[in-house]
């Protein structure tokens, strides 16, 4: 009887999920048709010099005219994206949006699958720790479904999809790598990681959580809890109440706390294979225009991301700063800003080594805050992944204020931009103030997350 009730509940949940997922796709299609006035593609919060589809169209046109796509200093992305998305930008239709909608949908499916795996491992580790009673209740909140729906219905995701930006594709590959690592599918994880790094440089820091995930397995409670349980089992006499559970536990195998090196070595091999393949394809693609050297020239792709030559406003904090810094100190401050991300890798990895999925989430949040050309597509990704950790975030104190802050900032930023550029009664300080508030919000958000997982 209970099983039948459970199966009806799960089928109802599944139907609920699929109806909402399809509704979000339909909503995106409707919005694409009716949103010409909003000019989403020209807003700096949505399309940055790296992710704008207009620039991709110009790069493709240059390529068709037998000139290097990087000659116009408009396009700064990967040559592979040019070959895939370029032909779609030629006709003035909605073709490019279908790809973005598909990638959003697939990202949501992958997040859901990752959530299910995480939940399974969570239940297993609870079982092995002996906290059986929590298992019954935790079936109600399916974090995978919630996370998938949060990603699909997040207004930031919808606006990025409708606004012709290539962020959904980058997000898809990041989530693909996380999913592959959770499922211990090494080639898939390596593919996702290589392509995500190739498209935008910052997912390279995800190599640490991916290796931890492949080595230790997905998120689990801290290892000392397991050690405590074994010591209790060995030392004390069985007391009343946990008598049966201990006997149960004694018959269950202990979760292995070993780091599986073979998987990691496989991952490194596959990653080098995939990166070699990607570089080969890129080389073929730009062969006529100077080969790979053209791509790696400074201020074309990776040099553009690292040296930040384009200071058009966006929702990050680098553009305003680098508009004022003297040339003498420019390289120094570039290093400071990029090392800011790298410095946080090691301490967080030590702190959160038992929860590599959450570690990946924190890395994504940090890189979307401190990267050189952030957009709301990056925030969309980590807000979507937030849903995977709903149970752990139960203690977060300021969720309400952060929510209001996000709503207020995302509405205030276009208004300030309008005031500055179109009306002329504001100036760059207004817009930068909004960007700073947004950065503070993300900081508080990340800090709150880490704190309640302490």
């Amino acid at each position: 009887m209970e099983e039948r009730k459970e199966t009806t509940a799960t089928t109802k949940k599944k139907q609920c999920f699929w109806t909402w997922a399809l509704a979000s796709v339909i909503f995106r299609l409707v919005l694409i048709h009716f949103s010409r006035n909003l000019n989403l593609a020209s807003r700096p919060e949505i399309s940055t010099p790296l992710t704008s589809l207009r620039r991709l169209a110009e790069g493709y046109w240059l390529k068709q005219s037998s000139v290097s796509p990087y000659a116009g200093s408009m396009y700064h992305g990967s040559p592979l994206l040019l070959s895939i998305l370029g032909p779609l930008t030629v006709r003035r239709g909605e073709g490019q949006h279908n790809h973005l909608i598909c990638s959003d949908f697939m990202t949501a499916m992958l997040i859901r699958a990752t959530g299910q795996i995480l939940q399974m491992t969570y239940n297993q580790s609870l079982k092995s720790l002996g906290i059986v009673r929590l298992l019954e209740r935790s079936e109600i909140l399916s974090s995978g479904d919630i996370a998938g729906l949060v990603y699909l219905w997040n207004p930031l995701t919808i606006v990025t999809c409708v606004g012709s930006s290539t962020s959904p594709i980058e997000n898809l590959f990041i989530v693909l790598s996380l999913y592959g690592a959770c499922r211990r599918l090494v080639p898939l994880a390596a593919l996702g990681w290589v392509i995500a790094t190739h498209l935008s440089l910052y997912p390279a820091v995800l190599v640490v959580p991916l290796i931890l995930m492949l080595g230790y397995g997905p998120d689990s409670p801290p290892r000392k809890l397991f050690l405590q349980k074994t010591s209790i089992k060995v030392g004390k006499d069985p007391s009343i109440g946990i008598h049966d559970q201990q006997k149960e536990m004694a018959s269950q195998p202990m979760l292995p706390i070993i780091f599986s090196w073979p998987l990691v070595i496989h991952f490194i091999l596959w990653a080098s294979l995939w990166s070699f393949y990607v570089l080969l394809l890129c080389g073929i693609s730009v062969n006529q225009y100077g080969g790979l050297g053209e791509m790696f020239k400074s201020s074309n792709t990776y040099g553009f991301i690292l040296t930040v030559p384009d200071l058009s406003p966006n929702i990050g904090v680098l553009w305003y700063f680098f508009a004022e810094v003297f040339d003498f100190f420019r390289n120094f401050f570039l290093m400071v800003f990029h090392l800011n991300i790298l410095f946080m890798i090691l301490p967080l990895a030590i702190f959160l080594n038992h929860r590599p999925c959450f570690l990946a989430f924190v890395y994504i949040a940090i890189s979307s805050l401190l990267k050189s050309y952030p957009s709301v597509g990056d925030s969309a990704l980590y807000l979507g992944l937030l849903g995977l950790f709903v149970k752990e975030l139960a203690d977060i104190q300021f969720s309400f204020f952060l929510f209001c802050g996000y709503v207020g900032t995302s509405l205030l930023s276009p208004v300030m931009h309008n005031l500055w550029i179109w009306r002329g009664t504001g100036n760059a300080n207004f817009y930068f103030a909004t960007a700073m508030v947004y950065a503070c919000l993300q900081d508080n958000f990340g800090g709150g997350e880490c704190e309640c997982n302490a």
């Binding site: 209740r137 709903v390 149970k391 139960a394 977060i396 929510f403 208004v415 300030m416 009664t425």
Partner: protein, 570 residues
């Protein structure tokens, strides 16, 4: 115009009309190229006239402009080009100016057809103008341009006024409460008052001048100033009661016209392209029916305009030193943004504080012990910190209805009527539907107050005057909202006064009710008509005013949520 040696062209435009009647208008544009200038900047003079029926006043405005124009062709100090736009105002004064500006700023290359000319297929023969080949040398059909516009003046002459002297009325508000730089108004005012001896007026609410309460407040201020001056002769902030009342009436009018978001004259079209522009309406003290009076009037008006153009001509940069955000209290006095923002900030500051305190109170009441005794407690703890999501969902649904309402003018009538009734009926529906869910009203109120705060802050950046008036109506209602059942059950004086306040504020918060009450207070209750409100809303909608956006997406949803809280079952 071409006789004077200016470049002339005819600009044909198609004003948008509601019934898609094919209408055409022709503006006449004349450009004087400054002989010693570099041709990069221009000053624009606009004179609207009704080409099918010209009356004496419009003819006088054309006459003033023509005399100034002919002077400027001969003068030596001209550094910027002068454009004279004689706008065909058969279908309204704003449309020809905005059409000309749109075509001016979007050059079309390659000889493609202008947009809008596909709508009407009329042969040119119907509207061909008589051309005499001898005299009209420089007239062309090409669109002539003259560089960026430094400033623009719209000149109108109206009928006879009741004052003792020739009067100049200044209209400065553009769309969404934007104002030209204060320097332009200062130039016009000082030249008119000190050089020409004209009487300068700005719009004010005449009914406020008779108000007894305002007189009492003015006299209080006067006595306070007198006392302060007697204590310390250097404290000279006193203001006489008459000055206070005039200033208050002008301030209220300035605030209202900015809040409407509708331009008060054809100069509003210039603001969209960041050009400072004002409308000058000159009205003579006597009928201009004999030559002496006409000459005198033309001379005064012409000298004023020549003085303004000469001042703008000598500028090296566009106006940017003075204020863009201000409220006029008289033609020569103003309140700047640094002063009036404080009032708004004080009004809106309690909102986040109350929201935070309500939220933390609601959370504290239900915090169980930190160690979960059972799985139920843990589950409840998880849901506890995400409880505000339910309130967020309700607030979001109401705001979605507001968005729907905003876009309903583009949908057929029956949909918008249904949506209207849904919004108005939603509190009652919810009050019955939510019987089973005893949700916290504290968190709902906290969420409503946060939504109101965000909406008001955003609106204050877009159009301050709307946000100010909206805050005056919305903030008390949001702060005092309390479920009526709790208060009626309490039976104390405090609870009773709160119920009374809630009912009064809830009534005034409803936009039509507020409109009727304020209109009745200012113009007397006899002139109030039910359809006035819909006309007013339709007007706001037609001009794409941000005030309509505010009413639909912030004011109406917050009002509906407050009524929801009032009717909350608990």
């Amino acid at each position: 115009m071409s006789d004077l040696g200016a470049d002339v062209n005819y600009h044909k435009f198609h004003p948008q009309s509601e019934n898609n009647i094919c209408s055409r208008g022709i503006n006449t544009v004349g450009i004087i190229r400054a002989p010693r200038g570099d041709g990069k900047e221009a000053i624009v003079l606009v004179t609207p006239y009704n080409s099918s029926k010209i009356d004496l006043a419009e003819a006088s405005s054309l006459a003033i402009a023509y005399s100034v124009f002919s002077l400027l062709t001969r003068v030596t100090w001209l550094a910027k080009d002068i454009i004279w736009l004689a706008a065909d105002s058969r279908y309204g004064e704003y449309a020809p100016v905005s059409a000309w500006l749109r075509d001016y700023h979007t050059p079309v290359f390659g000889g493609f057809e202008k947009l809008g000319s596909e709508i009407c297929y009329e042969s040119n023969a119907h509207h061909r103008l008589k051309e005499s080949p001898i005299t009209e040398r420089n007239i062309s059909d090409d669109f002539r341009r003259a560089g960026t516009m430094a400033a623009a003046l719209v000149i109108k002459v109206s009928g006879r006024n009741k004052e003792a002297d020739d009067t100049l009325s200044i209209y400065a508000e553009a769309s969404n409460g934007q104002m030209p730089n204060l320097d332009l108004i200062n130039i016009v005012n000082s030249l008119a008052v000190h050089r020409q001896g004209l009487l300068v007026k700005v719009e004010k609410f005449l009914s406020l001048l008779d108000s007894k309460y305002l007189r009492i407040v003015g006299e209080v201020f006067e006595s306070v100033g007198y006392i302060a001056r007697s204590l310390n002769p250097q404290w000279k902030f006193g203001i006489s009661a008459a000055d206070y009342m005039e200033g208050a009436a002008t301030l209220a009018s300035s605030l209202y016209y900015q809040a409407l978001g509708i331009p008060t004259g054809p100069h509003g079209a210039f603001r969209d392209y960041q050009v400072d522009a004002i409308t000058l309406e000159i009205s003579p003290k006597a009928l201009l029916n004999n030559k002496v009076r006409q000459t005198e009037f033309l001379q005064r008006g012409g000298q004023l305009i020549e003085g303004v153009i000469r001042s703008v001509n000598n500028l090296l940069e566009k106006f940017h030193q003075s204020f863009f955000l201000y409220l006029l209290t008289s033609p020569s006095k103003f309140v700047s943004v640094g002063v009036y923002m404080i009032a708004f900030a004080l009004l809106v500051a309690p909102l986040p504080i109350v929201a935070a305190s309500l939220y933390s109170d609601a959370n504290k009441k239900h915090r169980t012990s930190p160690f979960p005794k059972s799985a139920d407690d843990e589950h409840r703890n998880i849901l506890q910190s995400w409880k505000w999501l339910y309130a967020a969902k309700q607030v979001f649904i109401i705001h979605c209805l507001g968005v729907f309402f905003y876009f309903s003018n583009q949908m057929p009538d029956w949909i918008s009527k249904i949506v209207t009734w849904i919004i108005l009926g939603s509190p009652i529906i919810y009050a019955y539907a939510a019987q089973s869910q005893k949700r916290e009203w504290c968190i709902l109120k906290s969420m409503t107050i946060s939504a109101a705060f965000i909406g008001l802050c955003l609106m204050s950046v877009i159009n301050f005057a709307t946000a100010e008036i909206g805050a005056l109506l919305l903030v008390p209602m949001c702060l005092v909202a309390h479920p009526l059942r709790l208060d009626l059950g309490a039976r104390s004086l405090k609870a009773f006064t709160r119920v009374a306040c809630n009912l009064v504020l809830g009534f005034i918060g409803f936009p039509p009710a507020a409109f009727f009450v304020l209109k009745g207070a200012f113009e007397g209750f006899e002139s109030v008509n039910i359809s006035d409100f819909w006309n007013w809303i339709a007007c706001l909608c037609a001009w794409n005013s941000a005030t309509y956006l505010y009413i639909c997406m912030v004011h109406l949803p917050c009002w509906a949520l407050c009524i929801w809280i009032l009717l909350h079952p608990c």
